[in-house]
Amino acid sequence: MEEAIVTRNLTKKYKDVCAVENLNLSVNSGEIFGFLGPNGAGKTTTIRVLTTLTKPSSGSVWVSGFDVEKEPAKVKKVIGVVQQHLTFDLDLNLRENMELHARLHHIPPNERKQRIAELLEFAGLTKQSEKMVDELSGGMKKAAMIARALIHKPKVLFLDEPTVGLDVQLRRRMWDLIRSLSRNGTTVFLTTHYIEEAEALCQRVGIVHNGHLIALGKPTELRQTVGMITVEILGDGAFTRYEHFANRETATQYVQKLSSPTKSIIIRDSSLEDVFVELTGKKVDEE
């Protein structure tokens, strides 16, 4: 199985709003794929369709070779999902929440205990296992969500904003975890608001805007489409101007030609964030 996720002309309409339109994607097995886009671009809707929670209005979707609409039960066995918001049963303590997940995924009783202990240990939550979920800190809850999603050893892992609200240290541990999962053959489909996160983690990224896929490729490839070098011109009124150039020479020439010497100017490598802003026309988080 080469492709872990395939969508063909995926469209999802809510009444007259089109959340996702004609999305064509394929994610390779073992790849870390970043799915980026401004708020309301259709990222979460796409994940909901891929994880069987929502039916597509038209088009087809396969996960791990199974048609999501026709064989949802098979898809459910191979996916692990970390939703954007917390999805714990707050009437249960942490270990019980993990146990529920293990039971629902048919992990045999003897294996269940060991697997839960392992993952709690990994997430640094062994001491917290008997606490009610609400007593945990935000970072711990998020770590617990990821630990829970791994109990049944999913082949394809969906992470919707997995590191929002995490301390930098914990975020980096998450990154290491995601990389090690990928090395062991797990496919990771990730949405994030932190573009640098996608740049650090993902082999390929797709950018969606208003339900359309507007860019797809390796982070460096996408940077090349905009320009590898960015010039920031500060002090032009309230706004900073960004100009992109293919290489340092053209950038320097441009800067030398600029008339006003009082402006402060930065020449730097472009980033995926520059690509994102160029393509979507606004900064993330602005909405």
Binding site: T51, T52, L53, T54, K55, A73, K74, K76, K77, I79, V81, Q83, H85, L86, T87, F88, D89, L90, D91, L92, E96, N97, L100, H101, R103, L104, H105, H106
Partner: protein
């Protein structure tokens, strides 16, 4: 088959954990209202009155039992699922697990049945203090379990359909509450005008009440009502699937 049973148990396991941790509190909570009814109506209003040849107290106990079974079953399965879906948002986790819709619906309804039976049993024990029950037949537990299932399934349907907390309370105030008071729980349907009694026969609780009352008081058993109650149960059960499908759009 075995897998389905395990899945059902997995779904109901969560709620059983919670119940066992809060058993005392939960029972106390569900017993307050019925005991108040028992005191206010059975002892207060109806003292000395006779209905269908029984003292009002004997008459009203099965009614309050039916009402308790209904509200407890409905509230337990309905409210918990409602909270899981809209507030804890943890129901998605169940939906994304390789568990069939059948197992989810039965599992979610079962907790209502368990609590409905527990509360009814506790109430029954409390009632024995007030009045010895004339002649309880085996049809009594059957009717009680059926009643709990019917209203648990109803709770599951409504919880799937409710988009807000207000939807849920609206249904409880507009449907469950009037049903609780009017379905022959506190009075005999032979006492009300015919047109009204026809409407009241459309309420599943009316039939639950008739079954429970005759099986406790040793009257001839209303088999037709048992049949109608079963039909309500089947309809609500089928509606659960439609509602689940609708909720995942």
């Amino acid at each position: 088959m075995l897998q389905t049973l395990q899945d059902i148990y997995a779904v109901v396991w969560v709620d059983l954990r919670f119940l066992s941790r809060n058993l005392g509190k939960t029972l106390a909570l569900t017993l307050v209202a019925p005991i108040l009814y028992l005191l206010a109506f059975g002892y207060g209003l109806g003292r000395g009155a006779n209905i269908e040849g029984f003292s009002y107290l004997d008459f009203v106990i099965p009614g309050i039992l039916a009402l308790t079974a209904m509200t407890t079953s409905f509230n337990t399965s309905g409210l918990k699922l409602h909270v899981d879906r809209l507030f804890f948002k943890c129901f998605d986790e169940t939906l994304m697990a390789p568990v069939s819709a059948f197992s989810i619906i039965i599992g979610k309804a079962l907790i209502g049945v368990v609590r409905g039976l527990l509360s009814s049993a506790a109430l029954l024990l409390a009632c024995l203090v007030f009045s010895p029950l004339p002649s309880v037949s085996l049809l009594f537990p059957l009717s009680l379990v059926l009643t709990c299932f019917v209203f648990s399934f109803l709770g599951v349907v409504i919880a799937f359909l409710a988009k807000t907390h207000q939807d849920m309370t609206l249904f409880m105030s507009l449907v469950v509450l009037p049903m609780a008071f009017l379905s022959g729980t506190f009075f005999s349907l032979s006492q009300v005008p015919e047109t009204l009694s026809i409407i009241l026969f459309l309420s599943p609780l009316t039939h639950a009440c008739l079954c429970l009352r005759s099986s406790i008081l040793g009257q001839p058993f209303p088999w037709l009502s048992l049949l109608i109650l079963t039909a309500f149960g089947i309809v609500f059960f089928v509606l659960c699937f439609a509602a689940l499908k609708k909720s995942s759009k």
